[in-house]
């Protein structure tokens, strides 16, 4: 075992002790990590899981959040309303109206699954965390209180410089490129026989443009 180890430098007696002293002295000259919380508010990153805000205008009462919640802390009540036909002779439609939306933060374990599953972007994380109560019932935040938290939701942080483009942007860019290519092809259509670089034979899709944009 010991033969395979690389040869160690000759040890100066007390070198380890001196190293220890150096560590503590260096730490003393550095800035401390203490957060002076009640006096100074902490700087929390935008995705901090402080409290959940409800953007109720986006909610369609699909109940996905309530069903996915692992500890069943989301309460939703709703009723159906009939919307009269938009055009003459059209069909009446029904839509869901939210009556109650409440999250019991005494039960919530801040897993964020409700926010992940919401297909309509109605739930958001807010970094606010100062909502302790003396009565546990007060921890059930009703719809109006959840709506108020929305004002504290920060803008999403910018993507990393090397990150992949957002899906929406990529799709839009692809559609725009395709349109520009089609227009360029249409503009060059009247003068045939003059080959231009990048021109594609009509009917044969250029690589990268296959499929619906």
């Amino acid at each position: 075992m010991t033969e395979s180890l690389p040869p160690t430098r000759p040890r100066i007696p007390g070198a380890g002790l001196a190293k220890g002293l150096a560590v503590t002295l260096r730490t003393m000259t550095r800035k401390t990590v203490t957060e002076q919380y009640p006096d100074v508010q902490p700087e929390l990153p935008p995705r901090t899981r402080g409290v959940i805000g409800l953007f109720e205008e986006n909610c369609t009462v699909c109940m996905l959040c309530a069903r996915e919640c692992p500890d069943w802390c989301i309460y939703i009540d709703s009723h159906k309303e009939t919307v009269p036909a938009a055009v003459e002779g059209g069909r009446e439609r029904s839509r869901n109206v939210l009556d109650r939306f409440a999250i019991d933060f005494a039960l919530c374990m801040y897993c964020g699954i409700c926010i992940e599953v919401c297909p309509f972007d109605a739930l958001f994380w807010s970094p606010e965390f100062e909502y302790a109560e003396t009565d546990i019932h007060e921890l059930t935040h009703e719809r109006d209180r959840l709506r108020e938290w929305m004002w504290t939701v920060p803008a999403p942080p910018a993507l990393d410089p090397a990150a992949e483009e957002p899906k929406e942007l990529a799709a839009a860019r692809k559609a725009a490129d395709k349109l520009a290519a089609a227009q360029a092809a249409a503009a060059e259509e009247p003068t045939p026989g003059e080959p231009t670089p990048g021109e594609s034979t009509p009917g044969e899709p250029t690589p990268g443009e296959e499929g619906p944009a």
């Binding site: 220890g20 503590t24 203490t34």
Partner: protein, 323 residues
């Protein structure tokens, strides 16, 4: 009448220093230890950076009930904190901080003997507390204290004897009067032995097995509450002041400094003492506690031989100079 006034004034000054300096060291320890660990330390008491934290602690201790365990040896138990604390007051009385007559509480001719003997008495307080508490942890702590005292009195005494040999006197002002700058490299080994042995005698980390809280609760002080407990703590910090002051006087030349010799000598003494107190705190933050057997080994196999070697060196140099 004038003599009485003079004595009273000296006693008052020493007493005030005895009450203030340990608190200053304690507060420094709070802050230095915190920053060495990346923390801020006390920030509230007194308003500005928690300067009054120890005052607040004192008020808290004073409010607590003074409990004596039912099986304890009542008188000894109650007397122990005083025995632990008062010797340091007496030692402080004999430490000269400046060259003039007024800069020492009381000049004692056999200064080194007096100082070391009285400092040894301070440890008896822990022994008394450990025995009188009727508690197994206290007893273990007391026995460890006794073992530590036996192991570290000797190297401390030998190191001090080396300085006394070099100066040719056992009076503390006499030693500083004879001091030359080259004594520092000459006596450096003795200084280190004296300082380390002193730390062990004060039961400061890394030599705090007698109060090792993870093993024996708080050693001899386990059963103490309120003011008596505070007195034990105060004794520890007074001990730091006394040890640093003594090391300054014996090995670092007391009031001698590169400049400002006249009238400002006491500044040098206080400065050197403060630097040593910082080192005491620094060592506490840096090193983990030694095991009981490692402690004994350090003393008997390293410090005692080093102290003896220092005495031999002192003797040789002394003879060489005198020829």
């Amino acid at each position: 009448m004038n003599d009485v006034l003079d004595v009273a004034l000296r006693l008052i000054v020493v007493f005030v220093a005895f009450l203030v300096l340990p608190l200053v060291v304690g507060q420094t320890e709070h802050k230095v230890m915190a920053h060495m660990q990346g923390r801020l330390g006390p920030m509230y008491a007194g308003g500005f950076h928690g300067w009054a934290q120890l005052v607040a602690d004192g008020v808290k201790f004073a409010q607590k009930e003074d409990i004596v365990p039912a099986d304890a040896d009542r008188r000894i138990f109650q007397l122990a904190p005083a025995v632990a604390l008062l010797p340091y007051l007496l030692v402080l009385l004999a430490i000269p901080i400046g060259p003039s007559e007024g800069a020492v509480g009381q000049v004692v001719d056999a200064g080194i003997f007096f100082v070391l003997a009285v400092m040894g008495v301070g440890v008896l307080g822990s022994l008394m507390a450990g025995w009188a508490s009727a508690n197994k942890f206290s007893l273990l702590g007391g026995l460890r204290t006794a073992a530590q005292l036996l192991a570290y009195e000797l190297p401390m005494l030998l190191a001090a004897a080396s300085v006394a040999m070099a100066a040719g006197t056992v009076s503390l002002p006499g030693i500083i009067d004879a001091f030359e700058w080259w004594w520092v490299p000459w006596q450096i080994v003795g200084a280190l032995v004296f300082f380390v042995a002193g730390l062990a005698e004060l039961q400061r980390p890394p030599f705090d097995m007698p109060v090792a809280d993870s093993e024996i609760i708080f050693g001899a002080y386990t059963e103490y509450t309120g003011l008596r407990f505070a007195l034990f703590l105060l004794a520890e910090y007074a001990g730091i002041v006394v040890l640093c002051g003594l090391t300054t006087v014996l090995f670092l030349g007391g009031w001698h400094g590169p400049w400002g010799a006249d009238g400002l000598g006491w500044v040098w003494t206080l400065l050197k003492t403060a630097v040593l107190a910082f080192v005491v705190i620094w060592l506490r933050v840096t090193y983990p506690r030694l095991r009981e057997d490692q402690l004994q080994k350090l003393s008997w196999t390293l410090l005692v031989p080093l102290a003896l070697a220092q005495i031999a060196l002192t003797g040789i140099v002394k003879v060489a100079i005198n020829q």
